[in-house]
Symmetry: C2
């Protein structure tokens, strides 16, 4: 990756903006790979990416905002939403990519960082974190579209929450608690359970997406 000057003379907001984002993302992932998550600061990211800290604060607001942006970008990149023409194959492919993503050190570190991170923020009892729901809404919609394609083909009609509860949650929990035992047989079991489970509750309300800066 090309090193970025702190002050760019060229006025090309699109190109520069994309390069800044790539450099900052790459720096954070490198820092995470060192296993030093607890000690990562915006100053560290700024130093490694050679992007001015002020630019990072202006664009991402907080370290949590930056982590969320990197996590989403990596999830979108590493966990594609399949379209195989079969709901079971779609779910299996999705689960395999999700498992590989979580198992990779950077994915695992990001996941844990996000869980640890909203410390200190007021969280209503059992209530959803609106900001996270909003950021992950496009992802939830993409999963729902995969499920809706299957329903339109006459296959079982599932909701995103069914995939969250039945496939992603057990997978995440096994990695997060170090329980182990995630393999192809296990993933197939989770998918087959999701395909035969009693129908879930109605879709939760997802807040409207606010336009994100690119």
């Amino acid at each position: 990756l090309e090193a970025l000057p702190l002050e760019s003379k060229a006025k090309r907001p699109g190109g520069r903006s994309a390069r800044v984002r790539a450099a900052v993302h790459e720096a954070l992932v490198k820092l995470l790979a060192k296993g030093d998550r607890a000690g990562i600061s915006i100053a560290d990211v700024a130093a490694l990416s050679r992007v001015h800290p002020t630019s990072i604060y202006r664009r991402w607001g907080t370290l949590e905002g930056l982590f969320l942006d990197v996590a989403l970008a990596r999830i979108e990149d590493e966990v594609p939403i399949p379209d195989t023409g079969s709901l079971r194959d779609d779910l299996l492919g999705f689960a395999k990519h999700a498992a590989a993503h979580i198992e990779a050190p950077a994915g695992f570190a990001l996941l844990r960082a996000l869980i640890a991170m909203d410390e200190g923020q007021p969280r209503r009892k059992g209530g959803p974190d609106q900001e996270r729901l909003r950021l992950f809404a496009p992802r939830a919609r993409a999963i729902q579209e995969m499920l809706d394609r299957a329903a339109a083909r006459g296959e079982r009609s599932l909701q995103t929450t069914d995939v969250l509860d039945g496939v992603l949650a057990p997978l995440y929990m096994r990695f997060l608690f170090g329980v182990g035992g995630v393999n192809g047989v296990y993933l197939a079991l989770l998918v087959d359970r999701a395909l035969t489970a009693p129908p879930g509750p109605p879709r939760p309300r997802v807040p409207k997406q606010r336009r994100r800066k690119k």
Copy 2:
């Protein structure tokens, strides 16, 4: 709680040991309640509990060991294993207590601390964390005994992993990711799914329990 002298003249290992444990546990929970988890050190726990840091290191080894001990003690206290004579009622009671435990600030803070904590430790790809498995083995056995009682009554035969995957994982994930939507209807749905799911894989091997110092 009675304040403990740093040097006790009385030689009553059992009584003093129990009081030290209670004082240290209470101090950690108080520090967690302040929302300052990332900054908690053994020195802080020592200062608040009036137990010498050396005693804490000797007994719990690491901050992670102390957190695990407190988490286990609270889980055992707050999430009793029911024995109602009905598997569905047992699971519903268990799920309700588990949800209340996670939702409480101290339970939630402990959960997140444990997830964030084994940073830097080598973790085999997808492999289980043997130390945690060992510490939680008695708890897993207690859940399995509840399930075995149901099987002996002629009810559905489930494994602890079925409860982990089908009930606890979705519950934990909704709290951890701030997705929300955990209520009685949802808990009943998770339980009914666990009761109708296709049978799971064989029981994972649980390492033998090493005797813990009391």
